[in-house]
Amino acid sequence: MTTPAIEAGQLSVSYGGQRVLDQVSFAIPPGSFVAVLGGNGAGKTSLFRAILGLATPEQGYVRVEGRHFGRGRMPVGYMPQMRRMAGGQLSGWHMVAAALRGRSWGLPWCSAHARAEVDAALDAVDARALAKRPVMSLSGGERQRLLLAQALLDHPRILLLDEPLASLDPARMRETTRRIYDLARQRGLTVLFSTHDINPLMGFMDHVLYLAHGKALLGSVDEVMTTPALSALYGAPVEVVRADGRLFVVADGGADTLHCCDCAEHTR
């Protein structure tokens, strides 16, 4: 049996005194492209922090490739949610280069080999040219590409991407998703891709990991995005409606739209 890329067993994590993941269990097969879906506060970032060893589980475990790695030693590239970036006067190149062996003591000096590694990561996301510009002059989408390049340093086998589509327009969302998908397939990476909006991922993802009310449901789109499955997950009646090629998840009575998915494009 293949060892899962990421496995959680009865995992419970709290944030700010509130339990955001409550006895969650799942196993993500290696090489899969997983959309981590859920509303604000559903526990997407907390799950990533638990995987990275930044949040201590109150209960249960999370393993990467079947092991408990020490923090910073796992083969995981992490792209955090984009916030205001310090050091905006520095070039994008220096921003990415800072992450290369950034935990080692010493001067922030780049050898020729290190420079080549940074250039290769930038080439992988087609960001070599824009990396010459100061970070503060870059758009949100361009900064996301730099963060993705940074996540690719040190040759990770797993990518954790926290809201990589935030602040992008729809066209850029599809473009970014395709870029990440192509990279993942070329390199055989396992990708966990958290998002509020599943639309740009349709046709790319292998699985959906849907988080709600502290619980998680992992499966294919057709398995997870159904009325019975999501009603059970939310613990309340919700309805999954397909209309005009779009998928809506609607709360009981239709008053609140929890999620919508554009199902028009299922092919890659």
Partner: protein, 272 residues
């Protein structure tokens, strides 16, 4: 000018202060903690005044209180963010305490002026010895923690995920800022630490230099300010701290002008 020992001592002291303030200031500005140097110099003032009252050298009182406060700020970093009123009150209390200590000193007026605005010409050769030790220690400390500090400054979330201890770095770095503030205050005084620590670093960053070259340029600009201030002070008989402050503003304004021109003409400011 160099026939006098006090001038030679002043130039050497200015060199040592610039040697520390350039790289430390570069990280300070990069991390958006410029205000920390100002805050630590205020707290250092109280420590210096207390040391004078105690009969000890002001420099040691300044250094000790600034380093302890800096490390304390690092430990409590999460709790002080966004608490402007509390920080303002603590700084006011520090200045007030300093004023009280000076009140009980018989030579308070001269001591107060030296602490607040610097007395670079009054630095003794024995003080130079201590300044040298601190400068080497400070820069060596920064050289050891430079790489993770840069990583943590630019991408704290990723750095933490990669195993960098953010809190430890914060504490150590602000401790170094305390030492740098103490050294800088010898040249510019408590109130003008900002000019030597922040202005050259901000100019260097504005010009788009990378980390290593940026720290070197910040050191060069700090040296230009400090030595330029001394020379102009000699020529005009005005306080060196005034000239250093003026040169600091001029350096930053020039760097800003150059950066704006580059942006206007689309010249890339950075060569990775």
């Amino acid at each position: 000018m160099f026939a006098y020992e006090f001038m030679r001592t002043a130039f050497l002291a200015a060199f040592l202060a610039a040697f520390v303030c350039g790289p430390v200031g570069w990280f300070l500005v990069l991390r958006g903690q410029s205000f920390a140097s100002h805050a630590l110099s205020h707290v250092g003032f109280a420590g210096a005044a207390a040391a004078l009252l105690w009969g000890e050298p002001a420099f040691f009182g300044f250094g000790l209180s600034a380093v302890i406060s800096g490390m304390g700020m690092g430990v409590a970093s999460d709790r002080v963010v966004g608490r402007d009123v509390m920080i303002g009150l603590v700084l006011s209390l520090a200045m007030g305490t300093g004023a009280l200590c000076l009140h009980f000193l018989t030579r308070s007026a001269g001591a107060a002026t030296a602490l607040l605005f610097g007395d670079i010409l009054g630095i003794s050769p024995s003080s130079l010895y201590w300044l040298g030790i601190l400068a080497v220690g400070c820069v060596m400390g920064l050289a050891v923690m430079g790489r993770p500090l840069l990583f943590a400054s630019l991408q704290p979330d990723v750095a933490e995920a990669k195993g960098v201890n953010l809190r430890l770095l914060d504490v150590l770095f602000l401790g170094l800022v305390g030492i740098a503030s103490a050294m800088c205050s010898q040249i510019t005084g408590v109130l003008l630490v900002f000019t030597l620590m922040v202005a050259p670093a901000a100019a260097s960053l504005r010009l788009g230099f990378g980390p290593m070259s940026g720290m070197a340029v910040a050191f060069g600009l700090a040296l230009f300010e400090a030595w330029g201030g001394l020379c102009l002070s000699w020529l005009t008989d005005c306080p060196a701290s005034f000239w250093i402050a003026l040169l600091g503003s001029a350096v930053f304004a020039t760097a800003n002008g150059v950066a704006l021109l580059r942006e206007h003409y689309g010249v890339p400011s950075v060569k990775p």
